[in-house]
């Protein structure tokens, strides 16, 4: 399939999902702010400086509408996900409530759990000689870590995964499926809030029930906004980060050998994997007024996609932008965005990627992609990664 990326850009086209870099190369050269009629129409910012400035300019590029970050909108929602879909100054107050839970020091305390879950999953398939690194590893890893983070039963992880993938995948072709999953996820969050109000603990939801904003307690609807955001934003993104990385290391055994020989390189490599294969390729904003970007006029009310993936391969910022250099420094990628809505879960995502790489390389150092024709990408390109990554590997190591 060939696509006219200048006049008919579509981030869900399989050709784009397979090879976004060649599309970005053309856009950077020929039209850095293209418009597409798809999904109700949207503009795309692709230059690093435009994306960076746009993300900082929250007055012009607003996040304050439910569903605005997803193109097309995922499900109809009449409440905002908090703090993602709130603009400053209120945003700052909402974000401050949860920031301590996502800090580097708080997240570091989860490392034993992340390692336990990672190894438990590897134990399950290591004797089989084969596994699907997304379905049997990245997905359950990320959802189980999320349950630990949120203080909800680890047995509920599979349910969360099902709802979130139904929401993101269903929004393209099966809206009913997405709406059903969303309703179930909301019901689950509401039940959890009610349970914590009845019997408080030391967990994330209890903290929210006890938090105050402007001298009053958070409402159930506000806490729902926090809960739904944490459960959706914290899953497929990190799954993509892990899946993309494990695919890359299967295909580039020289880099894999370097990381096996010197594990201290892994944190720097993680940043490069995030740049080179950004789990979030783009997120939407709403233009509140007419604005000109890089010579292109964007009207008020327009949907504008901030293309992290394109910004991260902008040759004006990065040398050899389309090469994955695992020791690249400095590396000012914006895979986690920037500005008021920069990713709160960044430290947790980094920790999960780090531990996943360390343990897979330690225990399955010779894994390889089984049959490239069995690789399956996500059906959408805004959150880009693998949905199925079947690998084979040799005899067990402890």
């Amino acid at each position: 399939m060939t696509i006219d990326v200048i006049n008919d850009f579509d981030h869900n086209d399989p050709a784009f999902i397979r090879d976004p870099h060649s599309v970005y190369r053309r856009l950077h050269r020929e039209q850095p702010v293209p418009h597409s009629d798809r999904y109700g129409g949207y503009w795309l910012l692709t230059r690093y400086t435009d994306v960076r400035n746009g993300l900082l300019d929250w007055r012009t590029f607003s996040s304050g509408t439910p569903g605005v970050t997803s193109i097309p909108t995922s499900v109809k929602r009449d409440f905002p996900e908090i703090p993602l879909e709130i603009d400053p100054p209120d945003h700052t107050k909402y974000r401050d409530i949860v920031t301590p839970w996502f800090s580097r020091t708080s997240v570091r305390k989860l490392e034993p759990d992340v390692r336990r879950i990672t190894n438990d999953l590897i134990d399950h398939f290591i004797d089989d000689g084969h596994a699907d690194f997304v379905q049997q590893f990245a997905l359950p890893l990320v959802s189980r870590v999320l349950t630990v983070f949120l203080g909800i039963p680890e047995e509920d992880a599979a349910k969360l995964t099902g709802w979130v993938s139904d929401i993101f995948q269903g929004r393209l072709r099966e809206r009913d499926r997405a709406d059903r999953a969303s309703a179930e996820l909301i019901a689950y969050v509401d039940e959890t809030i009610a349970a914590r109000r009845r019997s408080p603990g030391e967990d994330y939801f209890t903290m929210l029930t006890q938090a105050t904003i402007g001298g009053r307690s958070l409402t159930d609807l506000e806490i729902r906004g926090y809960g739904v955001l944490t459960m959706t934003a914290g899953q497929e993104t990190t799954v993509n980060g892990i899946g993309n990385t494990l695919w890359y290391l299967a295909e580039h055994t020289d880099d894999r050998a370097r990381l096996i020989a010197d594990a201290t390189l892994i944190p720097t490599a993680v940043e490069e994997f995030l740049r080179f294969m950004s789990p979030i390729q783009l997120l939407g904003r709403n233009a509140t007024c007419p604005v000109e970007v890089n010579g292109t006029a964007i009207p008020a009310g327009a949907t504008v996609a901030m293309c992290y993936g394109a910004a991260n391969v902008d040759g004006e910022i990065f040398e050899r932008p389309e090469e994955c250099l695992i020791d690249r420094r400095p590396n000012p990628h914006i895979a986690f965005g920037t500005g008021p809505h920069a990713c709160l879960g960044a430290h947790l995502a980094r920790l999960e990627m780090l531990v996943a790489i360390e343990e897979v390389l330690r225990r399955l150092p010779d894994y390889r992609v089984d049959d490239p024709s069995q690789l399956q990408y996500t059906p959408h390109g805004d959150l880009r990664g693998f949905w199925s990554l079947p690998v084979v590997f040799g005899p067990r190591r402890s």
Binding site: S103, R104, P332, G339, A342, A346
Partner: protein
């Protein structure tokens, strides 16, 4: 040029320490700390302020007045 890191805003993304390691380090809490920046190229300090996701780095001139970030 002097710099000031707003510790309340800093979230420890680590951009500054990666870009300008001669001026910024991350402390035990994972938050940015600026060292002695007088010998550091002001353009590099400005780059750290520019790249900070939280816009937590302020640039100060010799009179202690804030210099707008590029």
């Amino acid at each position: 040029m002097d710099v000031e890191v707003d510790r309340d805003r800093c979230f420890g993304y680590g951009r500054c320490a990666d870009l300008v390691p001669e001026a910024f380090t991350l402390d035990g809490d994972g938050k940015s700390v600026a060292g002695d920046t007088r010998g550091v190229d002001p353009r590099r300090l400005a780059m750290a302020a520019w790249a900070c996701p939280m816009q937590a780095i302020r640039l100060l001139n010799e009179n202690g007045e804030e210099v707008p970030s590029p």
